[in-house]
Amino acid sequence: MSALCLGIDIGSTTAKVVLREGDKILFEKYERHFSEVREKTAELLREVEKFCGDRPLKAAVSGSAGLGLCEAANLPFVQEVFATGEVVKTLVPDASAVIELGGEDAKIIFFDGGMDERMNGTCAGGTGAFIDQMATLLNVTVDELDALSLQSERIYPIASRCGVFAKTDIQPLLNQGARHEDIAASIFCAVANQTIAGLAQGRRISGKVLFLGGPLYYCKGLQRAFKSILKLDDQNAVFPEYARFAVAMGASLFAQKTGREFTVSQLTSAIENAKTVQKADTRLRPLFENEAEYREFLERHQKATVPTASMAEYEGAAYLGIDCGSTTTKLTLLSENNEILYSYYASNGGDPVEIVREQLGRIYEKCGNRIYIAGSAVTGYGEELIKKAFFVDIGLVETVAHYTAAKHFLPDVDFILDIGGQDIKCFKIKNGAIDSIMLNEACSSGCGSFLETFAKAMGLPIEAFAEKGLHAKNPVNLGSRCTVFMNSSVKQSQKDGATVEDISAGLSVSVVKNAIYKVIRAASAEELGQNVVVQGGTFYNNAVLRAFERELGRPVIRPTIAGLMGAYGAALYSKRLKKSTILPPEKLKNFTHTSSSAVCGGCTNHCRLTVNKFSDGSRYISGNQCEKGLGLKTPTEKLPNLYEFKRQYLSSLTPEKPIKGSLERGSIGLPLALGMYELLPLWHAVFSALGFQVVVSAPSTRRTYEKGQFSIPSDTACYPAKIMHGHIEELIEKGVDAVFYPCLTYNVDEKAGDNHYNCPVVAYYSELLHSNVEELSKVRFLYPYLNINKKSRLKDELYRYLSPHYCDLTKKEVARAVDLGFRAYSAYMTAVRTEGERALKAAREKGRRIMILAGRPYHIDPEIGHGIDKLAQSLGFAVVSEDSVCQLEKPQRVSVLNQWTYHARLYRAARYATHHDDTQLVQLVSFGCGVDAITTDEVRTILESGGKYYTQLKIDEITNLGAVKIRLRSLIGALEEREEAKR
């Protein structure tokens, strides 16, 4: 009889055991552990015992949650990727690669050509937990999600770097009515793309590939996505029966080798008796010290109510408010006296139109002939869709709706914090107008839906989960970076033996801290004002409310209708109306709604559109980046747009005449990305004058990024840098002989700061390209270290660098070319600035609002900027860029080192905005831009010192403009409020 070997794999969400006797598997089991790691493991062991009794067996544990357990129980541990490698080497010796997806980790192992094992970085979420989250978002189980995906017709681009980004992409798709089948398939594609791009990092995955882990075992749609993206046939894509148990089997192999023997009962008792060392500083004090405190809290908050009236008795006019949020839909019907006649609050299940239809029907039913709707307003993510579908009178910006509601509650409210499913919104109120607005970004995303997902993961409804948190003895401290990080904090705390109660309370505290210190960026809780109203569905959670009061150090008002405030505000707002256009009962009965997808042919952008058709034949189209997709005529008035001007200018550069008279030096590619966006005129002129045929890569599209994503080594670098890889690939595809992108430690010295650096990424990205883009070895890659501030030096250096490659080049020729280059560069900068001033003047003459869309030169790229410039234009702004107006202000002294050329322009542009009533500044920030962590605070300080709103738009791969639009409209809403208050 061969020896018994037991492998235990405890991952972040599931526990697996495999009991082997030689090659024979006696027992295997795979189960979710809902964070009760010890209990579940012990339970599984009791089942193992049935098969082996007290026979001695060799055992080892693996997995991320197993790590802590082993330390505490002193059991042999084997790292899970290592275990997988062992098992594959034994079972499938000819495998060339393994892809394994777990609950929270993704791994790739390469076998041929030098073994290499990789795990995802912290900021990568394309894993099982991510799929769970997405299923929650669609309100289906993972199995249903999988089934849906197999019926797909098309794939939407979805950012899968982390769940938060993906949600930002998916939510608008849902709200715009995209097919769930397509979204489901897109989710799996996103996971596959993320895994491949994030982990392979330039190494080709080919040959026989094994797919392991739970998600890849269960989800056929995911299997399909991987197969098609990697272009694998059935022979080479292997989905083995043991996919879920590979790690546990590896652990059993490891056990066999290391040879420590146990009986099952010894193991069980070791695990049950394992001591947990609680680190004091990872725990917080309980939310309530005692029962009396809790009761006082409950009673106090019961008081903030709204009167209700019975619908059965009321007669007359009523006002309907609809808040079509990102995850929930809310409706409120008010009487003439502001009493609530009817209200509704529920998850929209990804189909808000259907919910509103049903609710409206119910309202009409209850109204009978006694009550008529005199006014209606809709707010929230789905505002436009619902407005169009049901002929709602008013579409309202969320901020205005919320402020209207809060003001009604507490007339002298000076701070509103709204935590909803997806969003955190904070407004400061001063002199009866919104003074500043802060909204959460992807990395500060701990909101309601996050708590909900967690509750689900632990097998509890959110109410019960929150309830548990209220009475936690030692809430865990989970940090506040983002949900992905919090997930792993939870994992850590589970390792330390935290209970569900402690985790629930800890999560509530995290959500609150995230709001205060990351979204509001308050240095202290006192900054938040005296009369605080909190609202949004998440504040129904008493644990969150309590945590907030704790952090603030004083009580706040939470209306009992916290979740309905948007709808309540909208209803109040609609009271200015007398007669409503809303779809009447008879028409509602025949209302139908279908959605389909299409690709816009309006321009080269090829936006993917979702077309909603309603029963009366009208349509609502979304997904478009500009107004063309709507099939509308070009707008009558063309407002200035410096972004467009710059793009036009750069795309129509004319080459210099070759100094030697002929194009004899072959072609040279200039990648239009990062610093090249500003210096293109310079290098274009230099190389054309030197007799090169200059090839400039085309402005980016999503496709450009995808083309190059395989060679990106660091997935947390900014999008403008990552897209560079695609530009290089494109140039090489075009068959250029050489590619030029220099290393520029120093940028142009505009004498506007303490120094004139480039950021490290712009400065040295060519080193990274040289090291990581294999294709570059096929061409001559020229990336000299140059200083563009000393003409004479640049002439010498460029000649010295180029002459070994191009022997017939003369020093004089290079010198002349550099002169021509600088002439072209200065012509460009002059043109930009002249045009900037012209735009300001033109806008002022017409009395238009001006927006300084402030970012970096490369933000004009249509893919990086996602057409935000055009959006702003369509909202009635004249758009100028930071570099087209900065010359109008003196260099700024800021409280940090003002040492980067591009950023010094931001400060000057911000100052300009403070000097002009009609000018707003909106800062574009690329996700992952470390330098902007410094500049944003400074720009905000400058703007706020001049009484201006600070609006920041964080941009990444995200392709949807819904959220941006809400922000810009909030800005406009606030400006209008302020103007009104002044009058």
């Binding site: 991320s64 790590l67 990727v81 290592f82 050509g113 030098g114 290499d116 795990m119 970085g121 912290t122 990092q201 330039g202 990872t282 990395c443 401290n477 940090g479 506040s480 970076r481 983002c482 990080f485 792993s488 904090s489 994992k491 850590q492 390792k495 210190y517 990351k518 202290s524 080594p713 660091s714 947390t716 670098a717 840098a721 430690t745 120093y746 004498k751 506007a752 700061g753 120094n755 650096y757 490290p760 040295y764 990205y765 080193e767 990274l768 090291s771 990581n772 270290y785 200083n787 250096e797 002294r893 409280s895 940090v896 080192l897 992952g928 470390g930 330098v931 962590a933 410094i934 605070d937």
Partner: protein, 448 residues
Amino acid sequence: MKKEKYYISFTKEMKKDYTILAPNMLPMHFKLILNVFKGHGYKMELLETQGRDIIETGLKYVHNDTCYPAILVIGQFINALQSGKYDPHKTALLLSQTGGGCRASNYIALLRKALKNAGYGFVPVISFSLGGLEDHPGFKITLPLWHRMFYAVIYGDLLLSLVNQVRPYEITPGESEALAERYCREIAEEMNRDGISFQKVKRRAAEILKSFQKIPTVKTEKVRVGVVGEIYVKFSPFGNNNLADFLVSEGAEVVVPGLLDFCLYCVINNIADARLYGRGVFKEPFVRLAYRFVTKKQKEIIELMKADGHFRPPTPIDETVKRIVDYIGIGAKMGEGWLLPAEMLELYESGVPNIVCTQPFGCLPNHIFGKGMMKPLKAKNPDINIVAIDYDASATGVNQENRIKLMLANAREQMEKAKKAPPKNARLSVKKPDEKVEKVPEKAAAGK
């Protein structure tokens, strides 16, 4: 651009009764330097506090997307001021100021901003830099002081290297660290008392080598793990969740390239700046002089170690530089710049193929110099075993440890393989089967 004064100077009066607080980036080195300063009439204290509170304080006063070291250091300062242990009106803060295009050059500014927000705007912040960027009459680093600090770095590197080499094997745990602690005290006292000369330093170094030899050890075979990365998280136990302790507890020997290499890296950058960009040309001869002076001393200490023969000496920087230019230009100078891949290569070539590359989450230079350089390093040296670890206020130990454990499992497997191969030229024979792989990039490079 006109510069008005935007900071509070540390005056001569303050020198009399102010306590200067400094962050503890390198326990060994900073203790030595601190003792030197104390000998020159400064009241100084290293902050050795750790813990979640400090991180929370940091997060509160520093933009959360700023690099982790800034959050830690600033959190630590404010936490100290709030602790009641020091009179804020009699306290100054000392922080090193690097220049350069990395956002790390903004730490001083961020600290001042955070102090203001926390209500300590009156506390003077002394920027400590090679260039002397600010005016602090009460804090003048005189030539003898520089001289002493330089030797403190030399001693610190030596002690750090020796502790790392002895600690995993010592029979009585803690002995090597206690010895190093003793030397930190004695050496500073000696320098302040008797002045300094290189002869004395060499004698002392020889003595140090002898006494470390005397620590009773069991020589077992352990995997060697090099630690490189962003300077703060690389060196500071607080920054890297006590990485060295963790590695030792996992049965590894830790190898940490010293601080002097970083100093020399800065010096070389000055030379490169002149050569490549024509900046600071007038001071270049002096910089070159300093470079020759320092490298000569570095080499002599290395020679001492070689002569002694018991410990693994570091590689002189000029040799490291010669090798790295196959990978990256030495004009790449922000953050750790070219030094980061250079250290990885140096470790690999001196028999330490296992490397933890530490970096703060979202560190800009590390996109290029850390993660960006791993592919060519692996292509040319297939058995190099690098793991990149991100450190952050919210990154959890369990994720970090799990990845380090993977690296260690591979390291052990490689060590076993190497053992089976013939002992002589063991490293060559390990490389041989992979020769094919090695040739590909060379060819590619030739085709360029």
